[in-house]
């Protein structure tokens, strides 16, 4: 091979790769509905809850009750979990909570003995097949965590036509065939960044430590954070690092970022499960800790912040607690209550220095390497009364779910 042929090959490849790069480099942009469309969508949401639907379109469309013509089946009900990937402690807690609550109602003769469960290892085609199988295996309620906002829509439509109730948890779908239970990522990103802006008294360099690039959760969180920080003219966003909600990746990317950005860093807005790695990367790069809002109540974060005595803002967002809210919505509907909307969103409870310390004491033995989620003992994210405002009619849930 001659030098000339090598260079010719390189030139050809640059051309091809440039074309490919242009194609895949197109930016994602969420379509903002018109004011009238927004008002129409939010008219389905209880007035007191609308504040938590700020910029809802970053997550999924808000619409009317998709189950207006649905009649709840007679008990005993079969609960099922269609999980995209059961490989994390968050997902395990979700499953365990569903199993725990299901057992309570099984004792009362209202549900079948076990929760049928599937795991697709993050393969949306496999998850759709598993969803369809569950639908045909007699599930009355399928709780799902879709790995893609549209990938399960065909299965959910079919399930709805067969009288099966589909409920998503913290991963809403872009189709009117499911009830979506969770929280607004834009709102969460906004609150975290606002806390950092206030903690820095409106001045300083802030880094965003984000999750997986390009997915609606991340886009919503980042848009909320950027909007909040834009209100502080003295704050400069100096970069965005993607940690993929993984300690090793976030630490690797933080180390790289810190090695190539010698300027002072004053704050980090991170979106959960990555703050400890970020702080360790700072320490190992010879930098002092910075104001950091994390986002979630991972045990590692709670224990690390306790040990280092750092200031914090985080949100309670464990899988167990989310599982409780999804189960409660299902029980409301199985008891005949009609939801006003397809999107039951709630504000995640915030943790400050004092409440994080209280939680640390409620979870003895947790360390900065613990992978559990420090939920509140009652596994509630909001009062049942808040969820009740989304429903009309129906019988009271009996017996009441026990924490």
């Amino acid at each position: 091979m001659t030098l000339r042929s090598m260079l010719r090959g390189a030139a050809l490849m640059v051309g091809v790769a440039g074309i490919l790069g242009f194609g895949v480099g197109a930016a994602y942009a969420a379509d903002e509905p018109t004011k009238a469309e927004q008002e129409q969508a939010l008219s389905n949401v209880p007035a007191k809850a609308r504040a938590y639907y700020d910029h809802y379109w970053y997550n999924a469309p808000v619409g009317p009750n998709p189950y207006a013509n649905w009649n709840p089946p007679a008990p005993p009900w079969q609960f099922c979990l269609n999980d995209s990937m059961l490989g994390t402690s968050w997902r395990t807690d979700l499953l365990n909570e569903l199993k725990k609550l299901n057992a309570q109602y099984h004792a009362a003769g209202l549900t079948k003995e076990d929760v049928l469960t599937t795991d697709s290892n993050n393969n949306i085609s496999v998850q759709l097949t598993q969803f369809n199988n569950l639908s045909r295996q007699g599930c009355n309620v399928i709780v799902s965590t879709p790995s893609n906002p549209t990938g399960l829509c065909a299965g959910m439509k079919d399930a709805m036509e067969h009288g099966v109730l589909s409920i998503t948890v913290q991963s809403p779908v872009n189709c009117p065939y499911a009830m979506n239970v969770g929280s607004n990522q834009y709102y969460g990103g906004r609150e975290l960044a606002d806390w950092v802006g206030k903690a820095l008294h409106g001045k300083g360099n802030v880094l965003i430590l984000s999750g997986v690039p390009g997915i609606s959760t991340t886009i919503g969180l980042e848009a909320g954070s950027k909007a909040a920080l834009a209100k502080y003219p003295g704050i400069k966003i100096v970069g965005t690092v993607y940690g993929f909600w993984n300690e090793a990746t976030s630490k690797t990317e933080m180390v790289k970022w810190l090695a190539t950005h010698p300027q002072k860093l004053d704050g980090i807005v991170s979106y959960g499960d990555m703050a400890v790695a970020a702080d360790e990367a700072l320490a190992q790069s010879g930098r002092p800790p910075v104001m950091q809002a994390d986002g979630t109540n991972e045990c590692a974060y709670i224990a690390y912040w306790h040990e280092k005595k750092l200031h914090t803002l985080a949100f309670l967002a464990g899988g167990g607690s989310n599982g409780y809210e999804a189960f409660y919505v299902a029980m409301k509907m199985l008891n005949g209550a009609k939801p006003m909307t397809n999107m039951v969103w709630f504000p995640l409870p915030a943790l400050n220095d004092a409440s994080a310390e209280k939680l640390y004491k409620a979870w003895p033995g947790i360390t900065p390497t613990s992978t559990c989620w420090a939920d509140e003992p009652d596994h509630h994210l909001v009062a049942d009364a808040y969820i009740n405002t989304f429903f009309k009619g129906g019988k009271p849930i009996e017996p009441k779910p026990k924490p």
């Binding site: 090959g9 390009g214 993984n246 090695a259 390497t369």
Partner: protein, 318 residues
């Protein structure tokens, strides 16, 4: 000049690695300081250790896609066992032996059944992920000893040397691999098998033993990388190795070892590890977002491979 032309495929990766460092140091203020250099060396060492076994399997004509799964298994097993009070000096060797066994099974099945190692190692990876889940149910509580964290810390020292233990270990591994490739029977067999498996068998090279041993080395080193990543991330995470599938293969190919085997060396992979780490640091330093980083990295990989990675297979040169 002829000497340079003939060895362009060997010189180019190292020249690019050095050039990239100089460009980054010129473009990004502060990049040339000690902490940044230590960061570069640490991140390259983690990739280098994970890529070592991959290089040898590729030279031999195989490929090991179970690297991320073995890394994840080692990370979880080590951190969970240590968290339950098992001594790191007990669980560490057990985890490495487990990696060796997984690798040996990969090589044994691939060669004895004549199934492409790509398929076998992919299947093994799926089994490992399933086994981790079956055992832990996603509840990977664990911890790591402080000594291990220091071993993979940017500011770690090894005795009087201002470099973390991971970098020193990588240096030792480089020496071992260079001797293994150039001076050992195993090295010669690997090149011969990669160049022409049929001819290698006719030359009475015991291919079953060769494949079993080389894949066992790959599995063992993946396990070592998994333990180091447990220390680096201070957590038990089965997905910790995911990033190392693409990057280990890229490091081998960018270094100039052809994916079809028969040529190349671990020394070239070292250059590949530096190039990948430096490239990502440069792109991050320039403030490119994740999408632009991925596009740029992909383009640069194609360009580099186009410059020096298009040699005719050894078999076709005879």
């Amino acid at each position: 000049m002829n000497w340079v032309r003939q060895r362009l495929d060997v010189i180019a990766p190292f020249a690019i690695a050095i050039g990239l460092f100089l460009i980054t140091a010129a473009v990004i203020p502060g990049y040339g300081n000690l902490t940044s250099i230590r960061s570069l060396l640490l991140l390259s060492s983690l990739l280098g250790i994970a890529s070592a076994g991959q290089t040898l399997t590729i030279i031999m004509g195989g490929i090991d896609l179970s690297v991320p799964a073995v890394i994840g298994l080692a990370c979880v097993a080590f951190a969970v066992a240590y968290g339950e009070g098992v001594s790191p000096w007990v669980i560490g060797p057990i985890v490495i032996v487990a990696g060796i066994v997984v690798g040996a099974v990969n090589g044994l099945i691939s060669r004895s059944l004549r199934v492409n190692s790509l398929i076998v190692t992919l299947a093994t990876a799926t089994i490992i992920y399933g086994a981790i889940w079956a055992q832990t149910k996603g509840d990977n509580r664990g911890s790591v000893p402080d000594g291990l964290t220091d071993f993979v810390s940017v500011i770690g020292w090894t005795g009087p040397i201002p470099l973390p233990g991971s970098v020193i270990l990588w240096g030792a591994l480089v020496l071992v691999f260079v001797i293994l490739e150039r001076r050992s029977v195993l090295g010669r067999w690997s090149y011969a098998s990669g160049a022409n498996p049929g001819a290698a068998e006719l030359a009475r090279i015991p291919s079953l033993v060769l494949w079993t041993v080389v894949f066992a080395i790959s599995g063992g080193l993946s396990a070592v990388a998994g333990i180091l990543l447990a220390g680096f991330s201070s957590a038990a995470n089965p997905q910790v190795g995911d990033a190392y599938l693409f990057t280990t293969l890229s490091a081998v190919v960018i270094g100039g070892t052809p994916i079809i085997g028969g040529r190349g060396s671990y020394a070239r992979t070292i250059a590949g590890c530096f190039i990948i780490t430096e490239l990502t640091m440069l792109l991050i330093g320039l403030g490119l977002d994740e999408a632009a980083q991925q596009v740029s990295l992909g383009i640069l990989i194609i360009v580099l491979v186009a410059i020096y990675g298009r040699e005719t297979h050894v078999r076709m040169q005879i």
